[in-house]
């Protein structure tokens, strides 16, 4: 029981350290997890919906799977890229507020040698504590805005276009396969289709009614 308590305590502390000062990162990570779980439910919703025809299911199921796959990928590629670039802009002082820029000037760092240089990071400065209370809320806000814009672009524009392309291709393949199977039906030689249907009905129907 105490091991479980320790585990939970470590989990809470890790969460506090990782996401407490980085809400943008949290939004990206939980967003990915959320899409995985909701896609699982959506796929099963189509599979068990008997009002959707097999033909439509052959489109909608791959559409949903593609939706999940593309969402996860686009979340990592687009959303986290947006967040990373925004973070870097703030860390290098390229996007800042007046007090942050004044802090940099006071420290002799307000020059192109530092501002916008990928190696420069305000957070690593020895006297970072002096500007932390101004810098941190601003950076968190920029991160959250960037993550949100990135997720709107990835989930609402890139994903629907890509998943439709993928699902349409899958539907065409599925329909071609279905037609191929239909063509493979070989009727017995010398027997017409209607005679064959009657024979089948007699063979498989207990009540004698035509079931085909």
């Amino acid at each position: 029981m105490s091991a479980l308590n320790n585990l939970f305590s470590n989990f809470k502390n890790a969460l506090y350290k990782n996401y407490g000062e980085n809400p943008g990162k949290m939004l990206v990570h939980t967003g990915v997890l959320g899409w995985v779980l909701s896609s699982l439910a959506q796929v099963s919703a189509i599979v068990f919906n008997d009002k959707i025809s097999t033909e439509q299911k052959s489109f909608l199921i791959p559409q949903e799977i593609a939706d999940a796959g593309v969402n996860i990928l686009s979340f990592y590629l687009i959303t986290s890229s947006f967040k990373r670039v925004a973070s870097k802009l703030v860390k290098t002082g390229k996007l800042s507020t007046k007090p942050i820029r004044e802090f940099l000037s006071k420290n002799g760092l307000n020059s192109p040698k530092y501002i916008g240089n990928r190696k420069f990071n305000i957070e690593n400065l020895a006297n970072f504590q002096d500007i932390k209370s101004e810098y941190r809320p601003f950076k968190n806000g920029v991160d959250v805005v960037a993550s949100t814009v990135g997720s709107i672009i990835s989930c609402n524009i890139v994903t629907p276009v890509l998943r439709n392309e993928y699902a349409a291709k899958k539907q065409k393949q599925a329909l071609a396969k279905m037609h191929e199977n239909e063509q493979k039906i070989v009727y017995p030689k010398g027997v017409s289709i209607s005679d064959y249907q009657k024979l089948s009905a007699m063979k498989y129907s207990n009540s004698g009614y035509l079931k085909i």
């Binding site: 506090y16 949290m26 939004l27 820029r101 809320p137 806000g141 959250v144 989930c155 392309e165």
Partner: protein
């Protein structure tokens, strides 16, 4: 084939610098812009983000599906109906559950102090000394979101999926009735 890690690193660093160079130097001077970023960081949790995503999804996704010329008309109509249903169901439940869980975590992560019942500090990390900081608010949002995701593992099946199915069937039926009346 051996990947030259130094080459990859150099390429990545150059690409990163080039991306940074694309942006102009920007100093937010107006209090409006600064307050916007600060309040966004403080107030936008995963629940609000889900709502923003849902609203913007309704404005884009159905139109993308309606203009998908790769499928026949009937499939396209079902696809649009399902997309709308999925957005409505997902956004409504997603927002309510996230918001509810974040509120619950707030109530159960009070500061460790005399007179505070133990269950009210169940989600309070022991490294935390102050609970009125922005970092602690963000922790509550993160914990609330994670708890919400666990809850949604069940509600996705129990609420989302049947609600999406119900809304899809209703929307398809409405569309079919409309088509019949036009004919």
């Amino acid at each position: 084939m051996r990947i030259n890690s130094t080459g990859v690193e150099k390429f990545y660093n150059n690409a990163q610098q080039r991306v940074l160079n694309l942006f102009p130097n920007k100093v937010c001077k107006g209090t409006g812009a600064i307050n916007f970023f600060k309040s966004t960081g403080e107030n936008i949790s995963s629940a609000e983000q889900r709502l923003i995503l849902g609203a913007s999804a309704l404005m884009s996704q159905p139109f993308i599906d309606a203009n998908n010329k790769n499928v026949d008309e009937k499939t396209r109509k079902v696809s649009v109906a399902r997309t709308i249903a999925k957005i409505i169901a997902g956004t409504t439940t997603g927002f309510i559950i996230r918001k509810g869980c974040i509120s619950a975590i707030k109530a159960l992560s009070k500061p460790n102090a005399a007179g505070v019942p133990k269950y009210k500090t169940f989600f309070t990390p022991n490294v935390v000394k102050q609970t009125n900081t922005d970092a602690f608010m963000q922790y509550r949002n993160a914990m609330g979101t994670i708890v919400a995701l666990v809850v949604m593992m069940f509600t996705n099946f129990a609420i989302d999926a049947p609600l999406t199915r119900y809304l899809t069937n209703n929307l398809v039926k409405k569309q079919e009735d409309k088509d019949v009346s036009v004919k």
